[in-house]
């Protein structure tokens, strides 16, 4: 299965995960400070800054895109509960 690397800049941890893994599944396992609420892309609690490698994440769904707009989220911000890591390397930190 294809793999990808995710780095949580706030705690300095890099982890290799299967392609398709959502950021939140990894962050809670390694203790990064990305706090989440609904985990369904609705509440916006898990807003996360993608420091680099945003092209290695799956495109946001219509729902995620709308929530990001409602939150006035800056560029390169995603919902950790929705963003799936596809390949390569991604560096993230809590928004």
């Amino acid at each position: 299965m294809p793999k990808a690397k995710v780095t949580f800049a706030d705690i300095g941890v890099t982890i290799t995960v299967p392609a398709g893994t959502r950021l939140i599944e990894v962050s809670e396992r390694v203790g990064a400070a990305i706090t989440y609420g609904c985990r369904e892309g609705e509440c916006g609690t898990c807003l996360t800054q993608v420091v680099s490698g945003s092209e290695n994440l799956a495109e946001p769904s219509v729902l995620e895109d709308q929530v990001l707009k409602d939150m006035f989220a800056p560029r390169h911000h995603r919902l950790a509960c929705q963003a799936q890591v596809l390949s390569g390397e991604v560096v993230v930190k809590p928004a």
Partner: protein, 431 residues
């Protein structure tokens, strides 16, 4: 630094007068309201002394800022007090440190009365702001989203913003007046305590309220408390003006230090370098107890895991909350009685919202006579609390056989191994 903080002499305390603002620093007034009759806040928090909803006004040469508002039902009293210190057309700025209704309830009306005022919110607040206004006829004419590093000038007084997410909502922030050393801290350093002498050196003893408030409001976000303190501790604090409870003008740094002590105090300092697995059980005839003991035996086979076993039949689950907060994993066992787990199990599982437990390892087990629903019900609850439950609950009928006890030991080993295996190896295995 000349701060203009009011003196803290031993003279008898002045009491808050109806319709009158209280000066707390040069050009800074308290314009909040008292709610002395409140005994239950947000349904879940008890208070023997009511609470206050604190709002403040900062006057500069170029503008007047209102920091936070009050619960909607108290709006008339708030506006009367606000009018004693400024007129609506003077208000240039409204800052909302936290949009929960007890602080934003009077905001729509304030925006109507001072339509020229520019609203400043945390960058995490827009969705809540929209939700707050949707049932009103107020449309914000202008608002700005601020983050740590943002500031604005009121003329001789400035407001510097410090984003403190999850203390205790995503949108929470603090606002600092560096010229005075005054920190408007929102719910941080607040408490539900109502006393019309207002200042911490004049009101009755509120230490228990301060501790209770931290334990119920801030404790689940301990990691974020520590992050927030990194921002707030370096500030030259002369006075903390929280959104609830007394204004902290005497030794304000004490309260900052107390937050650090509360957030850092960890039982697991004693087991540094080891993972901790807590096994809770309750047992009618000893079968679930034997399962628990076998799970513990299996888990102890794994080096680097400290296993503890507790019988929930003692009744009071409160001591276990502290243990669970700092544990890496928990397993819970119950027999099935009339299709459900035993009450002490639910007492425990309904108390865990007070601490951070998301992402911890969870497992369930239990012996049963008829149908064994308890295990699945407990498992659903653990998943609902966002624990990580990688292994299906272990349920067996009546008295465990040697083979079944071996399954329990195997579950214990798997749980312990899960705790000691680096996450990327677990992800690789899952793949």
């Amino acid at each position: 630094m000349k701060t203009g903080i009011m003196n803290t002499s031993p003279a008898p305390a002045a009491r808050i007068q109806p319709g009158q603002a209280v000066e707390i620093a040069a050009g800074v007034h308290w314009v909040g309201v008292l709610d002395p009759a409140l005994r239950s806040f947000d349904i879940v928090l008890s208070t023997a002394n009511g609470t206050t909803y604190n709002s403040y006004v900062v006057r500069g040469d170029k503008g007047v800022a209102v920091i936070d508002t009050v619960k909607e039902a108290f709006a008339p009293e708030f506006f009367k007090r606000l009018e004693s210190i400024c007129s609506y057309d003077e208000i240039t700025t409204i800052v909302i440190n936290h949009l929960e209704p007890d602080h934003s309830g009077a905001l729509p009306e304030l925006m109507k009365r001072a339509p020229q005022a520019h609203v400043y919110l945390s960058s995490r607040a827009p969705m809540m702001f929209k939700a707050l206004l949707k049932s009103t006829d107020v449309t914000p004419s202008a608002f700005t989203l601020v983050k740590t590093g943002s500031s604005l000038d009121l003329g001789g007084r400035s407001l510097a913003f410090y984003q403190t997410p999850f203390l205790h909502w995503p949108d929470t922030q603090c606002t600092f007046v560096p010229e005075l050393g005054v920190l408007f801290s929102g719910d941080v350093f607040g408490c539900h305590f109502c006393d019309d002498r207002l200042f911490n050196d004049k009101v009755g003893d509120f230490r228990f309220s301060f501790e209770y408030y931290y334990a119920h409001i801030m404790r689940p976000f301990r990691q974020h408390v520590l992050t927030g303190l990194e921002l707030l501790e370096p500030l030259a604090l002369q006075l903390i003006a929280p959104a609830h409870g007394p204004v902290l003008r005497q030794n304000p740094r004490h309260y900052v230090q107390r937050y650090r002590e509360l957030a850092e105090g960890r039982l697991d300092d004693q087991v540094l370098g080891e993972k901790t697995l807590l096994i809770f059980y309750i047992s009618a005839y000893g079968a679930t107890r034997r399962m628990a003991e076998a799970i513990a035996t299996g888990a102890e086979d794994e080096a680097g895991v400290r296993v503890s076993l507790y019988d929930l039949e003692v009744g009071d689950v409160s001591p276990f909350i502290d243990l669970i907060e700092t544990a890496d994993g928990i397993a819970i066992g119950s027999p099935t009685i009339n299709g459900d787990a035993a009450k002490p199990v639910w007492d425990l599982l309904s108390s865990l919202h007070a601490v951070h437990i998301r992402g911890k390892l969870g497992a369930t087990f239990g012996s049963f006579g008829w149908s064994g629903e308890a295990v699945t019900l407990m498992e659903d609850r653990l998943k609902g609390l966002r624990l990580h439950v990688p292994f299906p609950g272990l349920r067996l009928k009546l008295v465990p056989t040697e083979e079944e006890l071996a399954q329990c030991r195997d579950l214990g080993r798997k749980l312990a191994r899960h705790l000691t295996t680096p996450p990327d190896e677990l992800f690789a295995e899952a793949a």
